[in-house]
Symmetry: C2
């Protein structure tokens, strides 16, 4: 049985693409089962309810040597703790290639598109497997979520085509209205504790050159995409305290939390300490004030934050 | 302009798949050009002549930041010396995933099939790009070469299907006769110097755990696939002397040279010193005599030699 899962702190793509890929493999004769590596965010339950499916089971432990398929991630820092003991036979992803290695030839399908689900739709079409309503709804939702309904600079023509193809099968007549309902669900944060908010869409990235250990840095970068940034920024003090705890717990060099205004496509990033302030000034030319840095239209962690930080922390030769 | 190339010490797949992929990309609107990273072996000129195409140009240098596509390899030890300075945007490969990383999301297409060309045929068919005679001939030849016309344990049903699909387009009526002619060309080694024979199909593999530098080993493994093993084994003394030079030049922990009898599907491996002898005894249960170890039917470096060595050199925990 192949265990299929997305990254820790799962977003909608990490959950729905694990479900869709496991189902596709099963239909192709490969025994596969979807799992999740953490609690759902506020958007995903809305999506699962609309699609009429249950959340995948939480993965607690996998025996060494188990066969796994990674979805929407490939770096060990974003996966199960004992990834190096597992046998990765398949990966479907749209991120940069990190520290993954395999001991046997794997099936890898990476494309520089906005969402894993866009690649999954291609896999269905290439294999001549008809897309059913539930899967169409899950893939459509993932693409709208990852691309912020085409607002993100990660959006590609393939993502737009995929949505156009999926919407009628998914029986979503008004895609913009559906996307706004998703974003509203995501923004309905209620009295969620600050630690949970920070960890909801949070990834740890290694920077520097592994061959020069003295250059290595580990940064945690959280993103809160919301239609109601005022609410989140109103809890700045609590969130900064949570960032301070996470930095100590995870042994990080720095922590950033970007509050992304989905509808206005802007990013205001919380600045924990002088370390983060220096990096935001030097890498992004930002001018932090009152523990807040205006990063303008840089709303994509993957395409706009991480590459800049990677270049900033790269050893000068 | 995207530079497309296969591994150093190129075999037929590394050369022909670079040509075919560069042409496919060009037909899809991506400016691309095929290169080679070394001299042709004795089989490839036969294949190129039959297909009526020139060998790709030798790649001498690429400026830092150049965009490249890797074909039939992904490990830095088998690629251009300055790979870490280049931007890898695409990889098509059927080997295990090694030390490759990228700073942007790449296009990766890895499948555990017998030959890169088998994947390239899928790319044509998925994109609805008709396969032309020349490309069909190149892909067919690469698959027959890599799988030793289905004799190798690396062969998959996809490789067989690809050959069945390609043969009529390539206008190869008798596939077995064509494969034997290829193998005969490959085996016509004439008075090639022993150093050249050793390096013709030769790859360097890192073993051990990068996180535990004291466990790291670098081994060079050459393979000579031939229909005339007696000729090669008759030059054992010269070849052992060449192996000794390569071990010193490349700073290796060990060197192996497997002489694979294509038609009888057997492997006799030259044993340089007590280091190699110990490993062959302990990892493969072989009983080397007179600097020669009978490895029986283990004719695939990728599927039968390297995984065993990897397990042997893995740190015990």
């Amino acid at each position: 049985m192949l265990a299929v899962f997305g990254h820790t702190n799962p977003d909608t793509d990490a959950i729905t693409s694990a479900l869709v890929y496991a189902r596709l493999l099963s239909r192709q004769g490969v025994e596969a089962r979807a799992y999740r590596l953490g609690e759902l965010n506020f958007e995903t339950p809305f999506v699962l309810r609309e699609a009429g499916v249950e959340a995948p089971e939480l993965l607690t432990e996998l025996a060494a040597g188990s066969q796994v398929a990674l979805i929407d991630h490939n770096e060990s820092a974003q996966s199960v703790p004992n990834l190096s003991e597992l046998t990765v036979t398949r990966v479907v992803d749209h991120h940069k290639l990190g520290d993954l290695t395999t001991s046997q030839p794997p099936s890898l399908r990476f494309e520089p598109v906005g969402c894993t689900a866009t690649i999954l739709l291609k896999l269905h079409r290439e294999a001549g497997v008809p897309v059913e309503r539930t899967d169409a709804r899950l893939m459509l939702s993932a693409i709208l979520s990852d691309t912020l309904h085409f607002r993100s600079p990660t959006t590609t023509p393939d993502d737009r085509e995929a949505v156009a193809f999926l919407a009628p099968i998914a029986e979503v007549a008004d895609v913009e209205a559906y996307a706004l309902a998703m974003f509203a669900a995501k923004s309905d944060l209620g009295d969620t504790p600050a630690d949970t908010l920070l960890r909801m869409d949070y990834k740890v990235f290694p920077f520097g050159d592994p061959a020069q250990p003295q250059t290595l840095q580990q940064w945690g970068i959280g993103v809160i995409e919301t239609t109601n940034p005022g609410y989140v920024l109103g809890r700045k003090a609590e969130l900064l305290a949570a960032m301070d705890r996470v930095r100590a717990e995870d042994g990080l060099n720095g922590v950033l939390l970007s509050v992304v205004d989905i509808l206005n496509e802007t990013n205001k990033t919380l600045v924990l300490s002088a370390t983060e302030e220096k990096v935001l000034r030097e890498a992004f030319g930002a001018e932090p004030q009152d523990s807040l840095a205006d990063l303008g239209g840089r709303i994509s962690r993957k395409k706009q934050l991480v590459p800049t930080l990677e270049a900033y922390f790269a050893p000068r030769t």
